[in-house]
C-alpha cells in the first residue's frame, strides 16, 4: 500500500469514501509520524486518541451508508490558538499553560463536524507574535528543510503558524489550521514549500481563537496543494453569529469551481514590491510566476500600490495597539497563571503574573500598544496609522480596477537560521513586508511554492485578490502550482 502520509486532504477523503483504506489506517499512519517527529517540536500537545475516535466515527458512518463530510477521515493539526474543549489551549504562552477550554472554537467545531480529526495542538509564536516560531514558551519549531550548503543549521519554519507549516511539510499532517494577522499563514507556508490561504477578513469565525489583533486576525488552511486548501477552507468558513465581524455571506464551492484557465483575467504586478536589495532569486521566482500566469491565459498588467512602504510601520502600530487591549484579560484572576508574591495586593499580582506569564516579544508589543494608545500620543500614532490603513486599502481598490488578482513574492528571503534575527526585532518584522499590506486591507491572499533556491530551500509566490474573491486567488494559485511542478520534499533528518 502507498504510504498514506504522502496523501493530501482530498486524496484521503476520496480514498476513505471509496474504501481504498479506512480512516483509522490513515489516523494511525499520521499518529505514528507525529510520534516519531519530536525533534521538530511542531506539536505542543498530541491527541492521537482524538484522531482515532474521529476516524472510527467516519468509518462507522461509511459502514452505515451515511453521507460523509468534506473532511471525512482527514486527521489535521490544530494551531494552538484555537480553543479546543478539554485540550490545553496555550497560545504557546506560559500564562495560558494548562488552560483547558470548556468550549470549542467555531472553526475547529466546523472541521470536526465535517469529519476531520485532531492529531494535536501545533506550536506557534507566543500569542501568534513572531515570524520564526522562536517566541514560543514551548521551544522553537524546526523547519524540516535544510540548506544544501553543507552546514547543518536548523532553519526557522516561519511564524507565527510555524508548527503548522513544519507539520504539513514533514508529512506529520496532510493539513493544518493557521491564523494570519500580518502574514502568519503565508510566510511559514513559503518557508516550508507548502500552500496556505488567508481568506477575506470575516470569512472564518474568530470565535474561540485566542485574540491577537482583532481587526486583522483571520484563520485559514495550510496544506500541500491548492485544491486541498480550497476543500479545507470550505469547511472552515461560514457565518457565525457569535463573531460580530463574521461575514453574513454564503460560502462558495471553491474546490468545485477551481479552474486554472485564466483567459480573460488580468494579473497585476505591483511595482512597489520590487524593492531595492530584494534577493535576486526571489525576483527570478516572481518572473517565473508572471510567465506561468501568462501561459495560463492571463494578461499581465503593471499596477501601483503607492503606500506599500507604509504598511509595515502602520501594522506595527495597529497590531500592538489591539494586542495591548486584547491581552489585558490575562490578569491571573479568571484563568491561566497567577503569580501572587507574598503579601502582594491586587495590582502587584497583576504585574507579577503578567511579568511571569508573557515572553519578551509579547511584553514588547503590549507595551508598544499601551504607548501608542496613551493620552497625548493616540492621534499621532494610532489615528495616523488607521488613516494610512485607509490609504493602503484605497491603493488596492484602485489596482483592482485594472486587474483581477495581484502577484508578488510572499517573503523577501527564503527561510533563515533559527537565532538569526532574534536580537533585532525590527529585522524580524521586515520579513513580513510583502504580506502585511493585504492583511491591513482585509483581502484574501495565498502563498504557493514556486521553486527551490540555490541552497535547496523553497520559495513562495503570493496572490492577493479582491475582497470576497477567494476563487480568483485559488485559481491563479492552481495555475502556478500546475506549472511550477513543485514536488520537492524535505529529506528526513528528524
Amino acid at each position: 500500500m502507498t504510504d498514506l502520509t504522502n496523501l493530501g486532504v482530498k486524496a484521503i477523503r476520496d480514498g476513505v469514501a471509496a474504501g481504498d483504506f479506512t480512516a483509522r489506517e490513515v489516523a494511525e499512519s499520521f499518529n505514528a509520524n507525529v510520534a516519531a517527529a519530536a525533534a521538530l517540536n511542531a506539536f505542543i500537545v498530541t491527541t492521537p486518541e482524538h484522531a482515532l475516535a474521529a476516524a472510527d466515527a467516519v468509518d462507522a458512518k461509511r459502514a452505515a451508508g451515511e453521507e460523509l463530510g468534506a473532511m471525512a477521515g482527514v486527521p489535521i493539526g490544530m494551531k494552538d490558538l484555537f480553543a479546543t474543549r478539554g485540550v490545553q489551549t496555550s497560545a504557546a504562552s506560559a500564562i495560558l499553560e494548562g488552560f483547558k477550554p470548556e468550549y470549542e472554537s467555531t472553526v475547529s467545531q466546523k472541521l470536526w463536524d465535517a469529519g476531520a480529526g485532531m492529531l494535536g495542538k501545533l506550536n506557534l509564536d507566543q500569542f501568534a507574535m513572531g515570524s520564526s516560531n522562536e517566541t514560543s514558551h514551548f521551544g522553537n519549531v524546526a523547519n524540516p528543510w535544510k540548506a544544501n550548503d553543507g552546514g547543518n543549521a536548523v532553519l526557522a519554519p516561519g511564524g507565527s503558524s510555524g508548527g503548522s507549516s513544519a507539520a504539513v511539510a514533514a508529512r506529520l499532517a496532510p493539513a493544518a489550521t493557521g491564523t494570519d494577522t500580518g502574514g502568519s499563514i503565508r510566510q511559514p507556508a513559503a518557508f516550508t514549500g507548502i500552500s496556505g490561504i488567508k481568506p477575506t477578513y470575516g470569512r472564518c469565525s474568530r470565535w474561540g481563537i485566542v485574540a491577537f489583533a482583532s481587526s486583522l486576525d483571520q484563520a485559514g488552511p495550510m496544506a500541500r496543494s491548492v485544491e486541498d486548501c480550497a476543500v479545507m477552507l470550505g469547511a472552515m468558513a461560514g457565518f457565525d453569529p457569535k463573531d460580530s465581524t463574521s461575514l453574513d455571506a454564503p460560502v462558495p464551492d471553491w474546490a468545485g469551481a477551481l479552474s486554472a484557465d485564466l483567459r480573460g483575467k488580468k494579473v497585476g504586478i505591483p511595482k512597489e514590491y520590487r524593492m531595492d536589495g530584494t534577493d535576486a532569486e526571489i525576483l527570478a521566482s516572481w518572473d517565473d510566476g508572471i510567465a506561468w500566469l501568462k501561459d495560463a491565459g492571463a494578461e499581465v498588467v503593471d499596477v501601483s500600490l503607492p503606500h506599500t512602504k507604509y504598511a509595515l510601520p502602520a501594522y506595527y502600530i495597529v497590531a500592538p495597539a489591539e494586542a495591548s487591549s486584547n491581552l489585558a484579560r490575562y490578569d491571573g484572576v479568571r484563568y491561566g497563571l497567577r503569580d501572587l508574591p507574598e503579601g502582594a495586593g491586587l495590582q502587584d499580582m497583576y504585574a507579577a503574573t503578567r511579568a511571569a506569564g508573557f515572553g519578551p516579544e509579547v511584553k514588547r508589543r503590549i507595551m508598544l500598544g499601551t504607548y501608542v494608545l496613551s493620552a497625548g500620543f493616540y492621534d499621532a500614532y494610532y489615528t495616523q496609522a488607521m488613516k494610512v490603513r485607509t490609504l493602503i486599502q484605497r491603493d488596492f481598490n484602485e489596482a483592482f480596477e485594472k486587474c483581477d488578482v495581484i502577484l508578488a513574492p510572499t517573503t523577501p528571503t527564503a527561510a533563515f537560521p533559527l537565532g538569526d534575527k532574534l536580537d533585532d526585532p525590527l529585522a524580524m518584522y521586515l520579513n513580513d513586508v510583502f504580506s502585511v499590506p493585504a492583511s491591513l486591507a482585509g483581502l484574501p491572499a495565498m502563498s504557493v511554492p514556486s521553486r527551490l533556491n540555490a541552497k535547496g530551500l523553497p520559495l513562495g509566490l503570493q496572490l492577493v485578490g479582491k475582497a470576497m474573491d477567494e476563487q480568483m486567488v485559488l485559481n491563479a494559485g492552481l495555475a502556478i502550482e500546475q506549472r511550477a511542478g513543485f514536488d520537492a520534499a524535505p529529506g528526513k533528518w528528524w
Binding site: 488552560f99 483547558k100 477550554p101 470548556e102 468550549y103 477575506t200 470575516g202 481587526s215 453569529p241 457569535k242 460580530s244 461575514l247 453574513d248 503606500h307 512602504k309 507604509y310 510601520p313 502602520a314 506595527y316 489585558a328 490578569d331 484572576v333 479568571r334 484563568y335 491561566g336 497567577r338 495586593g345 491586587l346 502587584d348 499580582m349 504585574a351 503578567r354 511579568a355 508573557f358 519578551p360 511584553k363 514588547r364 503590549i366 507595551m367 508598544l368 499601551t370 504607548y371 496613551s374 499621532a380 500614532y381 495616523q384 496609522a385 488607521m386 488613516k387 494610512v388 490603513r389 485607509t390 490609504l391 486599502q393 526585532p425 525590527l426 518584522y429 491591513l440 486591507a441 482585509g442
Partner: protein, 112 residues
C-alpha cells in the same frame, strides 16, 4: 524628516528609561532594571521605524473603522438565546480559575 502632525510630534521623539518604566506600569507588567536595559533601545528602534508614517499626508483621509464594511448586528434581547454564551455556566466559567471559592473568583484582599 518632515512631520505634519502638529503638536503631538513630540510623540515621535525617543522614549526615556523612565517613560518605558511608566508604560510598563500602565500595562501592568513588572519590569526590572535588566528588562529596561533592552526594552528602551528596542522601543526606540521601533518608534524610529514607525516615525515615517508622519510623512504621509492624511489631511483628507478618514481613519479606517472596519476593514470590510458591514452593519454591526445586535443579538436578540433574549436570555440564553445562545446557550453556549448565555447564563447558567458558573462551574464552567470558574473551571480554569487559579483560585475559585464559594462560586466566585478569589483575589487578594483589596479592602483593609
Amino acid at each position: 524628516m518632515k512631520l505634519t502632525l502638529g503638536a503631538a510630534n513630540a510623540a515621535f521623539m525617543s522614549v526615556t528609561r523612565e517613560q518605558v518604566a511608566k508604560i510598563a506600569s500602565l500595562a501592568r507588567i513588572k519590569v526590572d532594571e535588566g528588562d529596561l536595559d533592552h526594552f528602551v533601545p528596542e522601543f526606540n528602534a521601533i518608534l524610529g521605524f514607525v516615525e515615517q508614517l508622519g510623512e504621509v499626508d492624511t489631511s483628507s483621509v478618514e481613519p479606517m473603522t472596519a476593514v470590510i464594511p458591514q452593519k454591526l448586528r445586535l443579538r436578540d434581547d433574549v436570555i440564553d438565546a445562545d446557550p453556549l454564551t448565555g447564563g447558567g455556566k458558573q462551574a464552567e466559567v470558574l473551571a480554569n480559575a487559579p483560585v475559585a471559592e464559594h462560586g466566585f473568583f478569589g483575589v487578594p484582599k483589596v479592602i483593609e
